[in-house]
Symmetry: C2
Subunit: 307 residues, 2 copies
């Protein structure tokens, strides 16, 4: 089933996809430059960091960060650098989440997960080193000329990624596994696990672009809703998708009793809610007019992606 | 065997031990304040973070940082905050190193390791969250009033803790296990695994205190030598100590074929070398006169400690 625009016409995401691909290529170049090169007895660490980070993913988070920064005319090279930082955090979280003691996923982006390719110990260390690298990237002058902005980026990332954000969300995800949590609990889980890092992306774009409070608040609300849309889309993929489409095992979350935003609803109902949520998210950006077109598209694109 | 001063007289470390205990108490208070409180379904994460961090250890790294900052009259509260940050990184590294897929140690500081007490998944996440928290602590105004200093602290910590520092050292440690590496290789391993974070401590104290280049270089050389002294002392403890003395399993490193600085030498030879190295480290600090007395003692204290 292919997604449709609110009016029922097939949506055209070609401009969005082209720009996402362009941003992904620039972030890939940046990551390739900042990631360590394998050498010496520690070579497997650098190899695993590169394996976990390069050549995969749509780079949704860097794209969100770049498009936000562009609203305020921020320099592209600063945005790309911050985008590489958030992608390091995202990729580290995937490496650790896939570990046997966590979600135990052997497949990621259609390839063996990092711990399958390099062993568990190297995977733990590669995740640690990617997280650490992210802060170095944000602290560098290549991310912003003003040290106060850089230090605010560091603060914002550590809050979004830590116990009160992404890692806290992953903890709740595990704690609720096999229980029958209320939907509000699952929504809070996802707001921490996925939404916090997406929120960092708009926050970082706004900080680097020197945005005012009203604009930053609208973008933050947008990011929060966007996170839920993507999570519902993920849960739908897990329920309906095939492993080939997803690049990882399908129906695994449901089989494990993972908390899901689908609970108690049909896929069609969940899809309709996600679409309404995406439309609401897009309206948060009305104050930016046409300049926010790709960001608005992003909120509706989630339900059309296949992996 | 008890340690002796270079001249053969029993050394008196009572002033050093008293000040280390005082610093440890202040850092403990700070950690208690900044670590999350357990609540909600994510409570086990906060509990594990607190378990791994509070109530244990000599706080060598914070002490080194504070004593360095004091040489330059830096405000104590800033130094304590930075000391708490480096302790978060140290404790996270112990949690991850103890995991079954890494060094597989069930005992730490005389208590069950974090993964034994909370499970492996929670231990991985607690380590991740502690590392993340460290950067938030350094980025805060409570660490220094000047954003440029804070951002330099963030940069310095990420370099010391990441692939080019502590995590890289841990990778080499695993890679060389069961091989017969040259001593220079083992020394490089330990300089990364232990020395880099100790080097951060003097660097951070110097940064917060606004030290000049010559002073910072002397302190950096001191930290590098200090790291080797502590590592030889650790290797001696593993070879000679009992589990009760160490608070963790003894002779385990040797049994696993872990790279050791003892290789090819008797304990007495290694002890003599460490003592000479400690004396050399202390001489690096001659330019600070009597003010550096406790730091100098620290270099000789390593060989007298029992855990």
């Amino acid at each position: 089933m292919s997604g449709g625009a609110p009016g029922g016409f097939p949506a055209d995401f070609s401009a969005l996809e082209a720009e996402m691909a362009a941003v992904a290529a620039r972030v890939e170049d940046c990551l390739d430059q900042v990631l360590p090169q394998p050498q010496g007895p520690e070579a497997p660490l650098a190899e695993a960091m590169r394996y976990a980070t390069l050549g995969g993913g749509k780079r949704l988070r860097p794209f969100l960060l770049l498009e936000t920064g562009r609203l305020f005319g921020a320099p592209e090279n600063w945005l790309v650098r911050a985008g590489a930082a958030v992608e390091c955090v995202h990729c580290y979280s995937l490496v650790h989440d896939d570990l046997p003691c966590m979600d135990d996923d052997a497949l990621r982006r259609g390839r063996p997960a990092t711990h399958v390719a390099f062993g568990e110990a190297v995977a733990v260390l590669a995740g640690d080193a990617l997280l650490t690298l992210a802060f170095d990237l944000l602290a560098s002058e290549e991310c912003h000329r003003d040290a106060l902005v850089r230090v605010r980026l560091v603060s914002a990332l550590s809050r979004a990624a830590g116990a009160g954000g992404m890692v806290g969300g992953q903890m709740i995800d595990m704690a609720l596994e096999g229980t029958a949590p209320a939907r509000a609990e699952v929504a809070r889980l996802q707001t921490l696990k996925t939404g916090a890092l997406l929120g960092f992306c708009t926050e970082a774009g706004a900080l680097i672009g020197g945005a005012g409070g009203e604009a930053a608040r609208a973008l933050s609300a947008f990011a929060r809703d966007l996170g839920l849309v993507y999570q519902i889309a993920d849960d739908l993929l897990d329920a309906e998708g095939s492993a080939a489409e997803m690049g990882k095992a399908a129906r695994k979350d449901a089989a494990r009793g993972k908390p899901s935003l689908l609970m108690g609803r049909s896929p069609a109902e969940a899809r309709a809610e996600a679409r309404a949520l995406g439309d609401a998210a897009a309206r948060q950006l009305d104050l930016f007019g046409e300049r926010a077109k790709l960001l608005k598209d992003l909120a509706r694109y989630a339900l059309d992606r296949r992996r």
